[in-house]
Symmetry: C2
Subunit: 200 residues, 2 copies
């Protein structure tokens, strides 16, 4: 036993995250455990704690990679041009991601940090970067100087879209096709309201 040095700390860290992603993708949070991750990369439980602070830290890092992948996917949607069409494109990509990576996506919301703890800044920035996509799509509707209002409306749309996907995923009360229809209604109707408001 003892030192092996087959892999650098960075390599081990990357291997652990890749293993975690695979488990998350197939089995969700239920299948994820510190022991299983290290077992799958050929190390023992002790090594886990040289890579991560604790299990919550691992889940946070894993969620970080999920937010990155979600951003890459959503950022591929063209967001210039007419805001409503841009939002529909963005939503279609978001919905597509939640379907392609349903279990991994769910961990973003299933996992709750212990009582006092707040998400680290690097994590919050990943979320803000996603919100930024919605802001970009909304830009034509807001004159310069109204960034606060734009952020507010972006939050409403982002949260609402999340809610639609989330309840479909959790409650399964709705057929899969309906998610698109709900999202379409949200964007279309909300933008009618937004336009009449900003035109005033």
């Amino acid at each position: 036993m003892g030192r092996r040095s087959d892999h650098s700390r960075e390599e081990l860290y990357a291997m652990a995250l890749v293993a975690a992603q695979a488990i998350a993708e197939e089995e969700g949070l239920r299948g994820l455990s510190a022991r299983r991750i290290t077992r799958e990369i050929g190390y023992t439980i002790g090594t886990f704690y040289s890579l991560f602070d604790n299990f919550d830290d691992l889940v946070l890092r894993l969620n970080g990679t999920t937010l990155d992948a979600l951003y890459e996917d959503c950022a591929a949607a063209p967001l210039d041009g007419e805001p409503e069409a841009a939002l529909h494109r963005l939503a279609a990509r978001y919905i597509g991601f939640t379907r392609a990576h349903a279990k991994r996506w769910r961990i973003l919301f299933e996992h709750r940090l212990p009582d006092g703890e707040v998400q680290p800044d690097w994590y919050r920035e990943k979320i803000f970067r996603l919100l930024g996509l919605v802001e970009t799509a909304l830009t034509p509707l807001f004159p310069p100087g109204q960034e606060v209002e734009r952020l507010h409306e972006a939050r409403v749309l982002w949260s609402s879209l999340h809610g639609i996907c989330s309840l479909e995923c959790v409650d399964k009360l709705v057929s899969t096709e309906t998610v698109e229809a709900l999202s379409d209604s949200l964007i279309t109707n909300y933008l009618v309201g937004l336009r009449t408001e900003t035109e005033k």
Copy 2:
């Protein structure tokens, strides 16, 4: 050891759920365990499995009481009269409940059934009953015969409101007061869209 008969099965079941509610309220899903529940009501782990199928069943039953409490709270809002005002009242109650019972409310979405399993009908009915409140508030906007459309719009609003509360609760990117502002924007803007659509 062996038989005690201090309590009937029904009493034990009720005691276990009350204990689960208290733990959920204070510590959320993290604090909840089958062993702890039976310990707190003065019984041993074996008894747990004479009351519930398994741990998932307990959480489902607990969530059932949460949905009931949420319904009682929301149903107290007057839903007749002007739809927008009715929705604002309903949303205010919903938001109030998520604050007053934040940890217990979160378990509704933190908990995920194992892969093949679907929620039992009694559970789905509790959710539909809540959706029904939104439908009631929307009734003046839809002529008889448009119940399908009304349900669709109710779903959008319900899911969106859920999303706003959920992301505030999970991400904490938003100050608490903002939840009201986001919900207000959602309802106001969405209803502008709904009205112009139904007037066509």
